[in-house]
Symmetry: C2
Subunit: 328 residues, 2 copies
Amino acid sequence: MTDYFELVKAAQRRLAGHAHVTPIMTSKTLNRMTGAEVYFKCENLQRMGAFKFRGAYNAMSQLSDAQRKEGVITYSSGNHAQAVALVGRILGIRTTVVMPDNAPAVKRTATEEYGARVVEYNPAETTREEVSKDLLGRHNYTLIPPYDHVNIVAGQGTAALEMFEDLKSLDMLLVPCGGGGLLSGSAVAAKGLHPACRVIGVEPELADDATKSFRTGTLHTVHNPPTIADGTRTPSLGKLTFRLVREYVDDMQTVSEAAIMEAVKFLFYRMKIVVEPSGALGLAALLNGSISHKGRIGIILSGGNMDGVTMKQILNDERNGVYNYRRS
Amino acid sequence: MTDYFELVKAAQRRLAGHAHVTPIMTSKTLNRMTGAEVYFKCENLQRMGAFKFRGAYNAMSQLSDAQRKEGVITYSSGNHAQAVALVGRILGIRTTVVMPDNAPAVKRTATEEYGARVVEYNPAETTREEVSKDLLGRHNYTLIPPYDHVNIVAGQGTAALEMFEDLKSLDMLLVPCGGGGLLSGSAVAAKGLHPACRVIGVEPELADDATKSFRTGTLHTVHNPPTIADGTRTPSLGKLTFRLVREYVDDMQTVSEAAIMEAVKFLFYRMKIVVEPSGALGLAALLNGSISHKGRIGIILSGGNMDGVTMKQILNDERNGVYNYRRS
């Protein structure tokens, strides 16, 4: 039987000196507002701006020389694409990224700037899996999937592992959930070190497939959910991540679009950090009152890659009142 | 003769446990772009979001019991007002802040939330100095000026002092300049520890009074300059800060509005931190090519208090091209 916790610890050794050990931040204002003691793990300050670097590096650094020579492929228009491209540059591995032709130009440019070859497809005509399969048939690429792989999950778990090493204990850990790579890795790390820590996955109400899957035991899917949290628009948990989430995660919470935007604004105005909507899900669950726990709460801020259009949309949203913008 | 460096060291002891020792951040992308080794002192992550907490705490914690009982007064619509209000709350000192009646509501609200009494005046009819003088005549308040006081200057110098303690040496230090409190304090600290470090003050081209004063030896003033860097809209250096800037600072640089906005965007998109326009002046001087030095450069990011309107204005500005938004 696979010892997933050992794999997370091995990933941490592999990442040492390559990934940043990201800082942990606190907010006196938030602690006063909530009565809890909140610790933020700032993966928005990770290399390429998101935790995805951890999984990509853990997976790609384990490839054989022969595999490295042939290159890798992935499908993603988000942070995983940039992570694979950057790790490829660092390790000298050619990278190919399959992306829909309607992906924002800025994301394509960023991926290409890290040195990846981008292959576009028309999502009305085919799927990214089909295009990848076709390319895999014609090349000896290794596929680096965005979440449903043990080496990806183990790499993503290192962020929570660092948190527990720094903070010693936590009563609760709030983790964003898209495909479940970060959530299952974090839960494995938490339960490995502090089984009493409650691990809670958070996803948008508009993309609540993982919550339904968690509650029912049957894998639910959503199709292109219209949430602002673009990192959670994945259709469903993966085969592996579904199993790990069911086994290691204590509960799931959903949050409204308004709560997500409120959380991004709090981080902007009060904490002076840039966190993308998907990255702010944990704080959204705390701010909207879903979590009433008063003890030591860890929150993983999973990424900070946000375009100006999204930031402006959020700053324009005043459903939750205008924040004033001071720290205390 | 006053030993200003000793006063900065004494301020540091006074601030211990009250002000944050703010983190120092780096950017591989920026180092690659500039060929230099750049270190950012993140005073945007200081309490109330700016270095101003340091000077206010240093000044107000030295008041006698009798002075504390009578309360303090200041005039400012910016970060100094919030700093005095917050320190007042911490030390149990009543605070009165004189503010123009056209100050943004959000600034007034923030000051009041920290517990200050705000006294408004009509800037078309009178000046903040007149209103303060009138209030001082009727109450036994102590005036806590925004920059032109030795205890304020000494407090502001502690940010640079921390930088040198962390980094051991720097070849150059870039510091925003408004009224000159942060700049003169930083220069005193730098020259006290590493006399060879070149200290350069940076201000907007549109508010270049300190640069002119520095070059000519005669105090120049500007009237309400239309720069986006609202923290530098002060009319001139103070009596003390002018003398200290002339004595301790090596050079002054000015930067365009476009360069300031470019710097704010770089910090937002690449470094995932929120820095207000005045706080980004040092980086603006580096990005616009004014500074060609390739060694170890320290930059003080002086504050992060920015309203949504200003952020949106900056995100809308594409004169310098669209940044893509990844870290490497």
